[in-house]
């Protein structure tokens, strides 16, 4: 086999090509908006975009784990408002803020474990299982808040919205830190490897001695905890607890993850890709708002871009395979 490459096999994923394509697309988007509106390309607007995508970003991190592991989590749209309402109720009841956050995370953990058990032990498909828990958690949030918006009386609970430096809020920093943590988790840890393996081929992973169910339950748990924490961030931003936040976050997070190059079949996807996906959605919203485009056009633009990006990726893959 004289013509066989004997370079070493590497770990680089084929997703890289799509990632760079997407990043280029994002830059193009930035250029277009900068030309179209003078205010777009400014430090303060950059911070603005980041602030606006924080909640979606945090949820999308968890969604990436779920999707790469071969699953799916719609219940984030219920867990998030549940976390938001619970956080404000706890804070208003004079529970110390750190304890309130821990309790909210614990709540998220419960939801995640339930999701994990429904999917893995009972064998309900992720779509149905998390659709069910979405209703339950969303309903719970409404019940706890009695259907009304609860003002935050303990303003310390909004600390995440204070500026860490310049006009950058703490929650933006939290997003950055979480991104790095989850990226490291996916890329450099055993758990990360297992998530890719389980999503890519659950049977083979099981035979390789990986506890597939345990991995999946862990993933759903982390995903739900991140969603609950996103609820804390929303409450800090709005200074209220409401069961009506986060309705779009389930579909938008899935869109961001898929835009970032993941496959709903599992086994592929990266945090870097998801981040770009989130930024694209956030930037479109921001740029269109600056251009005073009505928000329903933005929804159409999101959909068109998702289809375009994924469609182009698939076409290229097909061409490469021929």
């Amino acid at each position: 086999m004289s013509d066989t490459t004997m370079a070493r096999p590497t770990d680089r994923f084929r997703i890289d090509a799509q990632f760079f394509g997407l990043a280029a697309f994002y830059l193009a988007l930035v250029v277009i908006f900068s030309l179209a509106t003078p205010n777009f390309m400014s430090w303060s607007n950059g911070v603005n975009v980041l602030s606006n995508v924080t909640v979606l970003g945090i949820v999308a991190l968890g969604q990436t784990l779920a999707i790469v592991s071969g699953g799916f989590d719609l219940s984030v749209s219920g867990t998030l408002p549940l976390g938001a309402v619970a956080y404000v109720l706890l804070a208003n009841a004079a529970v110390p803020i750190p304890a309130a956050i821990v309790l909210v995370l614990a709540l998220g953990m419960v939801v995640g474990v339930v999701n994990g058990i429904l999917v893995n032990r009972i064998g309900i498909s992720p779509l149905i299982a998390t659709l069910g828990t979405l209703s339950v958690t969303g309903g719970l949030a409404l019940t706890l808040s009695r259907g009304v918006t609860i003002p935050m009386t303990n303003f310390d609970a909004g600390f995440l919205s204070e500026f860490a430096f310049g006009r950058v809020s703490w929650y933006v920093l939290v997003l950055v830190v979480l991104c790095i943590l989850v990226h490291v988790l996916m890329r450099y840890t055993i758990l990360g490897r297992m998530i890719y393996a389980v999503g890519g081929n659950a049977d083979a992973s099981r035979l390789a001695g990986i506890r597939v169910e345990a991995v999946s339950v862990t993933v759903y748990t982390v995903c739900a905890m991140l969603a609950a924490f996103a609820g804390v961030v929303v409450s800090s931003q709005l200074l209220v607890g409401s069961a009506n936040v986060g309705a779009n976050v389930a579909l938008n997070s899935v869109a961001a993850v898929i835009l970032g190059g993941a496959s709903l079949l599992g086994g592929v996807g990266t945090i870097g890709g998801t981040l770009v996906g989130v930024l694209i959605l956030g930037t479109i919203a921001n740029g269109m708002a600056l251009m005073m485009v009505p928000s329903f056009y933005q929804q159409m633009a999101n959909g068109a871009i998702l289809l375009l990006a994924v469609g182009l990726g698939r076409l290229r893959e097909k061409r490469a395979g021929r």
Partner: protein, 508 residues
């Protein structure tokens, strides 16, 4: 009279199929270089070559699955361009791929008639489907449970369904990519007698094979591919197996022979009184493997050899009995995790379904089972991982094209090498191999046998479950033959011959 005969002989044979100057590259890699090929009606041609030589790529090109960069195809004397497999099918050219494509949740009958539903104006009924499928099966004397879902079938049965599927389409030329890789002797013989019958009716057959005996028994001509070039095209009677192998490898094949090894006499791994329900039912099977020993387990399909392999992998919950492993006695494994935790490395028979994560690169597949030992505090040690995989890729001589190549784009035989490497990587003390060289070329096969012998020499207790009789009698130190769920006998030394193994496995 004589003159007429001479005239006839001189007249060019009408060709059923012809390919000229096929060229195909993936990126910078030339996979096929100027390959020519012809097939006459009723002719049976075997295509052989090393793993990665381009055989499957060639088969896919002539059947419209992928398109050549350059080259011409002619079917029945007319130039054709196949843009998709359905074009080829419409012309009368059926392809049975190496990796079967079927709908797991549909029944056997529904899979057979897939795309060819009987009925009119878009309406069809389950009974018509069953009748149509039943008729073809009847006609060719192949029997299935037509109502069972495809996913419940054994691999060999699914393969046969694919073949029936092509037969239903009145194909005039059938291309089969390693059709017999997963079949045993009787099944292969049955398949080839069907193909011979089709040859008699003018159907051309091209099949890819790694088995020399088949090439000699069933083909009118054998073509050899090496590194994407056709290096030989001869009737098998005019050449010898070793000449053919020399064409394939570019050198002479070395023979595998395992010398006698000193043994401790103490069982490292033992099964005691294994029983199982279902078909085939195991009835009180006991056997043991010593450290450093390779024990073969041979049986025809349905003999129970598969059940034993699956039981040792923790895949079959029906098996009851005891396992003695590393001096401890325990019940059979309840899950693959338990088997793995007990120290067993299992090489599954179906690499794509049970062995590999196809979307991931070679390295990640190789280290799948040893994430823990390659990490500290849960974080992977990249350098150690690279060192280990580079070493294994070299030892197993995995042939790959691009550094990022996901395992799914490796040739079949090279996928098998990656699978084996992933199990050997763990330095197992107990190794259970289930069809370890399926789809591996003759050269690489000897190489793998040698590697397995080396692993055993390092003290690994190896149980090799195989339906390949040649492998069964050359690699193991002793061979246990299983029939109808019982141990039919044990062969060792000079008695370990193919004839003895087959007669033990089949006589009743």
């Amino acid at each position: 009279m004589d003159e007429a005969l001479a005239m006839q002989a001189a007249a060019p044979v009408r060709l059923l199929f012809e390919a000229q100057g096929l060229i195909k590259s993936y990126g910078p890699n030339r996979i096929l270089m100027d390959v020519d090929f012809t097939l006459a009606p009723g002719e049976s041609v075997a295509l052989i070559g090393e793993n990665g030589a381009g055989k499957s790529t060639f088969a896919k090109i002539i059947t419209g699955v992928i398109r050549p960069d350059e080259g011409k195809l002619a079917f029945d004397g007319r130039d054709v361009v196949f843009n998709a497999p359905r074009d080829a099918l419409a012309a009368g050219l059926a392809f049975i791929p190496q990796e079967l494509a079927y709908v797991p949740n549909l029944t056997v009958a529904e899979n057979i008639v897939l795309g060819q539903w009987p009925g009119r104006s878009g309406l069809t009924t389950p009974s018509a489907i069953r009748a149509r499928a039943g008729a073809v099966c009847q006609h060719y004397g192949i029997h299935f449970d037509l109502d069972s879902p495809m996913r419940l079938l054994k691999l060999a049965e699914r393969q046969l369904v694919e073949i029936v599927k092509a037969l239903l389409r009145d194909a005039r030329m059938i291309v089969l990519d390693e059709p017999t890789a997963a079949l045993n002797e009787q099944e292969s013989t049955a398949l080839f007698s069907i193909l011979k019958r089709l040859n008699g009716q003018g159907v051309g057959v091209l099949y890819i094979s790694h088995r020399m005996d088949e090439v000699y028994r069933f083909s009118d001509r054998v073509d050899v591919l090496r590194n994407g070039r056709r290096v030989a095209s001869v009737p098998p009677q005019r050449t010898t197996p070793s000449q053919l192998i020399a064409h394939m490898l570019g050198q002479e094949k070395e023979e595998f022979a395992r010398g006698d090894q000193p043994r401790s006499g103490v069982a490292a791994l033992a099964l005691r009184g294994w029983k199982s329900g279902g078909l085939p039912a195991l009835e009180d099977v006991s056997l043991d493997v010593q450290a450093g020993e390779i024990v073969g387990l041979y049986g025809v399909r349905g003999s129970g050899a598969d059940v034993i392999a699956e039981g040792l992998a923790g895949l079959n919950g029906d098996v009851v009995g005891e396992i003695e492993i590393g001096g401890k006695v325990r019940r059979t494994f309840g899950s693959p995790y338990e088997a793995r935790a007990a120290g067993i490395a299992y090489v599954p028979a179906e690499r794509k379904r049970d062995g590999l994560v196809l979307g991931l690169p070679i390295r990640r597949n190789i280290t799948l089972m040893m994430l823990r030992s390659l990490s500290r505090f849960g974080v992977m040690d990249g350098a150690a991982e690279r060192a280990l995989t580079d070493d294994l890729v070299r030892r197993f001589d995995v042939r790959y094209r691009g550094a990022d190549q996901p395992v799914e784009r490796l040739s079949g035989g090279n996928q098998q090498k990656v699978l084996l490497a992933s199990r050997i990587a763990t330095k197992p003390r107990y190794l259970v191999l289930h069809e370890p060289t399926r789809g591996v070329d003759v050269g690489a096969r000897v190489e793998i046998h040698r590697l397995l012998a080396g692993v055993a020499d390092d003290g690994c207790a190896t149980l090799m479950v195989t339906s390949d009789v040649e492998e069964a009698v050359t690699v193991p130190d002793r061979l246990i033959v299983i029939r109808d769920g019982r141990i039919a006998g044990e062969l060792a030394g000079a008695a370990m011959t193919q004839a003895n193994a087959i007669s033990l496995a089949t006589e009743s």
